[in-house]
């Protein structure tokens, strides 16, 4: 029997704490479990609570009700760095205005593993092992040649890869990624997916990724969690979740679902000109696509 990496129990979360009127729940009664070694994709329209869910699962936020268990320990009772040693978060936007080098940025992933103690120099200087791990992660994410460059000067995709390298440097058992491929070109998208798949198979790394890319989620995830308005609409294998009637109900627009020619997994496409028939219908469909964003 595989172990449980995460058990999320009935969490409710709001950015407002309820002092000014009723809180608007971003997540409202969400429960699910993630087995160790699983790749879980979290999908759903904008504003459905995907990002908040990731932040709740790494104790960046705390839920107003319910609990999150990480390998059997409740997050609320764990110190922040204990959480960071097990679960690494790759956030969506990583702006940095100070001129840290890529290598310094990646080494920040060793903070939760720092040495403690020492009155004067309790700074936890990096050990050779820390540097070795950072180097390895930078090579893996193809940013090693940029190690001396300032994080503020590299492209969005390079920064994103550096952030993922930082997360790997944390040596986590669970990796949580928020739109990991958003800034990346096709080549590096494929790279990231390959690396995640590799880490998952070789080291049994549990991966939880938020993505707008339904096809990526369908191809690479074992399980999909479909959120709508802060609640779970559907959870299951890609075949169970990526279905036209379900996606239509959640996203409010027509989609085509067929089989990927190689993997046989479900593939999503928006109806094109020939299917929709005529410019009027197209305009109508596009309006529908934009609607659920609000």
């Amino acid at each position: 029997m595989t172990r449980q990496a995460y058990a999320v129990e009935q969490i409710r979360f709001s950015y407002r704490d309820g002092r000014n009127g009723a809180p608007a729940w971003v997540l409202d009664g969400v429960s699910f479990e993630v087995a160790e070694g699983e790749i879980l994709g979290v999908i759903g329209p904008n504003g459905s609570g995907k990002t908040s869910l990731l932040k709740l699962m790494t104790k960046v936020f705390q839920p107003q009700a319910g609990a999150v268990h990480l390998f059997g320990h409740e997050l609320a009772g764990m110190p922040q760095d204990a959480v960071a040693r097990v679960a690494a978060l790759v956030p969506q936007d990583s702006q940095q205005i100070f001129p840290f080098t890529i290598a310094e940025m990646v080494l920040m992933g060793r903070f939760p593993h720092r040495r403690r103690g020492g009155v004067l120099l309790g700074l936890g200087w990096e050990r050779p092992e820390d540097l070795r791990l950072a180097e390895h992660a930078m090579v893996e994410m193809d940013v090693a040649h940029l190690s001396h460059r300032s994080i503020a000067d590299v492209s969005g995709g390079e920064r994103q890869r550096a952030i993922i390298a930082r997360a790997l440097t944390q040596e986590p058992r669970v990796l949580l990624l928020d739109e990991p491929t958003a800034f990346l070109d096709l080549n590096h998208q494929l790279d990231i997916c390959r690396i995640l798949g590799h880490l998952n198979e070789e080291r049994g790394l549990t991966v939880i990724l938020v993505s707008h890319d339904l096809n990526l989620a369908s191809q690479y995830c074992d399980q999909l969690l479909l959120l709508k308005d802060g609640q779970i609409f559907q959870i299951g294998t890609p075949e169970e979740v990526i279905r036209p009637e379900i996606l239509e109900a959640v996203y409010g627009c027509q989609v085509l679902v067929d089989c990927h020619p190689v993997t046989g997994l479900p593939r999503v496409t928006l109806p094109g000109r020939t299917v929709a028939g005529g410019a009027d219908k197209r305009a109508h469909d596009q309006a529908d696509i934009q609607k659920p964003a609000s």
């Binding site: 004067l120 200087w125 190690s147 930082r166």
Partner: protein, 386 residues
């Protein structure tokens, strides 16, 4: 990297090292430090070398500063008097020499005070800039200095600190004032998540205006003599203290500086934003409290002895960061040394340029710092504003 290490690791890693830092390999002699690390991360060797270099430069500037004054004393004479004073605990042996008296009793304490004040302002600036993720933050711009000044002025009005330069009770009032304004600024900052630069500056300007008005009010109800003393102090003036007072201040600042220094690595992560820092294992609330509290404490102490000296806390960290990089383990102490050296030099200008009259050192730093501030705001907008 040692050759045997490279061989053990096999071909792939060797290629990696070459890719990482072309051209640096030959110059790297350290046994454990790989070439790419020399260039990309803060090594202990670079830390020590940078601080030793800056410290030596600071010492030279200090001897230079000690030369100038009503009576010029030569560079080597300064050095020899200092050397003798350090060697023997009884410098009074040859105290008949006027030069020695002037140097050790008048100029040296003042120069040392300048160093401490400047270093402290710069260190606080580093901490606040990291915490607010804003390279324009400093105790003066954010209104913390004026809050501390208000506290100190209040203490003087109520007759709690009998002399302006006693550092017994005055820092407590200055500390309270500084903390108050820091809390207000922080509340404004926190209510919007991350503040755009201009909103934060605006908050500082408003606080400054309110506190300045209150200080003026206090000045107006004082007698003219005391009011003049208060005003010239507020403009930022260094006056030679006696050694015991200097010692107390030094201990005070050293403790505060160490507390701040211990947060250096957390500060590195806090520049990523609170959420990222938390996800990387920083106890953000605690780190924030420590840094804010220490900043208010240090600013309070500094304002109580020197009045309001602007721009050191903002410009020095900014300049140092551009040269040595952003890692706070080096940035904090290096900024402190550079800030201290800068203020020593500025104070020397302040007391000699219109001799025998003195101008407040705050005027000098503002005249140097103001234009640079404007330049940063206008031409480096992309890097500062969000």
């Amino acid at each position: 990297m040692s050759i045997s290490g490279a061989q053990k690791r096999g071909g792939q890693k060797e290629v990696v090292s070459e890719v990482m830092a072309p051209g640096v390999q030959a110059s790297c002699a350290g046994p454990k430090v790989k070439p790419w690390q020399e260039k990309s991360v803060l090594t202990v060797r670079r830390w020590v070398a940078t601080l030793l270099g800056l410290g030596a430069a600071g010492l030279l500037v200090m001897i230079g500063c000690l030369q100038f004054g009503a009576e010029d004393i030569g560079f080597f004479e300064v050095a020899s008097i200092l050397g003798r004073a350090v060697q023997s605990s009884h410098p009074s042996q040859a105290s008949s020499e006027t030069a020695q008296v002037i140097l050790l009793q008048v100029r040296l304490p003042r120069v040392l005070l300048g160093f401490m004040v400047g270093g402290c302002l710069a260190a606080v600036g580093v901490g606040l800039q990291a915490l607010l993720r804003n390279p324009l933050a400093d105790p003066y711009v954010l209104g913390i200095s004026s809050g501390a000044a208000l506290g100190a002025a209040l203490a003087i009005l109520l007759g709690i600190g009998t002399t302006i330069f006693s550092i017994s009770t005055l820092p407590l009032f200055a500390f309270a004032g500084g903390l108050l304004s820091l809390v207000v600024v922080y509340r404004i900052a926190a209510s919007y998540g991350r503040l755009p630069v201009h909103t934060l500056l605006l908050a500082g300007i408003i606080l400054n205006a309110i506190f300045t008005a209150l200080i003026m009010f206090i000045t107006s109800i004082m007698g003219p003599n005391r009011a003049f003393g208060l005003m010239s102090w507020l403009m930022g003036t260094l006056t030679a203290p006696d050694y015991p007072a200097l010692g107390v201040l030094a201990i005070y600042l050293l403790v505060g500086g160490l507390i701040l220094f211990r947060q250096a690595r957390a500060l590195n992560l806090l520049t990523l934003g609170e959420e990222s820092a938390r996800s990387l294992g920083v106890e953000v609330e605690r780190a924030k409290k420590v840094v804010f509290f220490t900043s208010a404490l240090l600013t309070g102490a500094v304002v109580s002895v020197s009045g309001m000296i602007g721009f050191v806390g903002m410009l020095i960290p900014h300049a140092v960061r551009m040269v040595i990089g952003a890692d706070h383990r080096l940035l904090l102490p290096a900024s402190a040394v550079v800030g201290g050296t800068f203020l020593m030099a500025a104070d020397t200008v302040a007391r000699t340029i219109m001799a025998p009259a003195e101008i407040p050192v705050g005027v000098v730093t503002a005249l140097v710092g103001g234009p640079v501030f404007v330049y940063l705001l206008m031409y480096r907008k992309g890097g500062l504003a969000v």
